[in-house]
Symmetry: C2
Subunit: 349 residues, 2 copies
């Protein structure tokens, strides 16, 4: 019997609704001889507003002892004066990514059959974005002087290291080699030149070890055009933390919406638990109504099972998602729990 310790952080808003569906599907897909021993952590906007606590050292230490983390979404009502921007993001979500060294933020983009792309001619879309997760403009480096005055100056420092870039670039090349053998670097090397040089150099250097992988480069602005005009051309995209944030939301949009986009915050060295979460946020505007689509959270469970060494179980979930999406065509909207039930049933079928 293998026992896997799973930290579950449903979080806020629709996080509370999609995570139970993800766990339902996890139960259905769990291989024989494996159990998931769950520990639930009620952290997020609600907890912060009630207690002032975001992510305590104790909770972080406890999470660190787990084998994986499943997260729903964290975030309160936009503009809530009691919830300054960044408190939860920097204090919880990014803190987990940084403390647990989740340097590969893995975001597959696939146009599922029956998914409603806003594009007139989406073509076949099937790529993976490997977003750097521990550097770039996300380090919280920088500061402000003369805050609130006409003389205020604020800086934001993007930190980029050869160490940090090389490891994520290696991961991306390894993935490209197992896929269609094409890697696209996305950056803005013509303006963000210092960081751009590290990225370009390491893609060239690591690429030399992968002569069978074709390498391509796109500026992040031009990428906007490619992703709506011809997204089929991409296989593996590797990019920095901020560009990755932006590009993956567009990728999610063109593949039928953020309700389907799964992600993993992975530490490929496996020295800490990796974290799996839907790309969407807590969506307070639609929370509590059982109308959120749990598919992205369920897809994140598949990424988790794959990471934990159960690719067959992951594949079962992915196949069930595809079947469910096909069966959804022409149907009216379903409740969050109905989607979870349907996919769980397809997994065991």
């Amino acid at each position: 019997m293998t026992s896997i310790k799973l930290a579950v952080i449903p979080g806020d808003g629709i996080g509370q609704e999609v995570v139970p569906e993800a766990l339902k599907v996890l139960a259905a897909a769990t291989p024989e001889g494996v159990t998931f021993e769950q520990t639930h952590y009620e952290i997020g906007a609600e907890r912060y507003l009630a207690t002032g606590e975001v992510l305590t050292d104790e909770v972080l230490a406890d999470i660190r002892t787990k084998d994986a983390i499943l997260l729903g979404a964290v975030g309160g009502k936009p503009g809530d004066p009691n919830l300054p921007p960044g408190i939860l993001e920097r204090g919880l979500l990014l803190k987990l990514r940084f403390e647990l060294d989740h340097y590969v933020n893995l975001r597959p983009s696939k146009l599922f059959p029956g998914a409603a792309s806003p594009l007139a001619n989406p073509g076949e879309i099937d790529f993976v974005v490997v977003r750097e997760g521990t550097e770039g403009p996300y380090t919280g480096n920088g500061g402000s002087i003369r805050v609130g005055t006409p003389q205020e100056v604020a800086t934001e420092v993007s930190l980029n290291t050869a160490f940090g870039v090389e490891r994520v670039v290696r991961d991306a090349f390894a993935r490209a080699q197992k896929r269609r053998k094409k890697l696209t670097l996305v950056h803005k090397t013509n303006v963000i030149v210092n960081a751009g040089k590290i990225w370009s150099r390491l893609v060239a250097e690591v690429g030399a070890e992968y002569p069978d992988v074709a390498v391509d480069y796109q500026h992040v602005d031009a990428m906007m055009i490619h992703l709506v005009a011809n997204p089929s051309q991409f296989d593996v995209i590797v990019t920095d933390n901020l560009f990755g944030d932006i590009v993956t939301d567009l990728a999610a949009a063109v593949t039928g919406g953020i309700g389907l986009a799964a992600s993993g915050n992975v530490n490929p060295d496996r020295t800490t638990p990796s974290m799996f979460e839907p790309v969407h946020g807590s969506a307070p505007d639609i929370a509590g109504q059982q109308i959120a689509d749990p598919t992205a959270a369920i897809g994140s469970v598949a990424l988790m099972l794959d990471h934990l060494g159960y690719p067959e179980a992951a594949a079962k979930i992915d196949a069930a998602i595809v079947k469910d999406l096909e069966s959804r065509q022409g149907q009216g909207p379903r409740k969050t729990a109905e989607v979870g039930d349907a996919i769980a049933a397809l997994v065991v079928a």
Copy 2:
């Protein structure tokens, strides 16, 4: 007789093809009693590769004496080893924007009748992006140590000042008031918190002077989704230099492509010449074939005429562009010069 001194920088690639068409239409639209006295500057990738010169102090000083600048595009072949990334961008294009204090980078986005949007249901799209042009991650601040080694570290510093943000926010509110009275701030305040605070504060403060303008906020990543799912909701978007770069390319894409997107690099204080240019680049892959669409360059002339105080002449060009686009429907591709001829003819008709 009013004589207007116009600096013309055709630049590289298709810049050399679209600028003559823009000048053709300018000639057709120039009001009675006005003349444009043109000075052409051959600067860009070709010049740099031949002479090592980008933008000399003499040329810059000369351009400074003009009333306006019309620019085609600058940039050489991607990956040219003799043309390191950033040389032309930082040394020419951004140098002009920064030296001439073009703090309003104005980028209208309109879905013209007959323009082919890649979206299945684009709806009516008509918004203006007011992109900050002199600050943010574009200041060239930052550096690298241990370049080329595994210990390389590179920083990029985004500089944001209340002075710089306030003036562009004021411009955006003034435009919103003359339009549909809605302003959307785009930023990433939940991660880029120091800069985010300046932007949020000044939008709130200046907004208090415009009680009739509705104010909205979107994270740059969520903006990707809105721009493909429901772009009609936007009127005036105000954002920083880098986010504006990204958002305006997506805006151009959803409104039928970068061949139609015009822009102005404006100094609203009128102490220096403002610069007008298509959003597209030099597109070396299609250069010299007379297949580039000059409409974006022609639209930039309309923005220039409006800025110079000739709104009727500008409106004539805009109307001619719309008529031309309508007449293009169902027609085969036309040569660059044919499009210019057609629009010029419609302007005088």
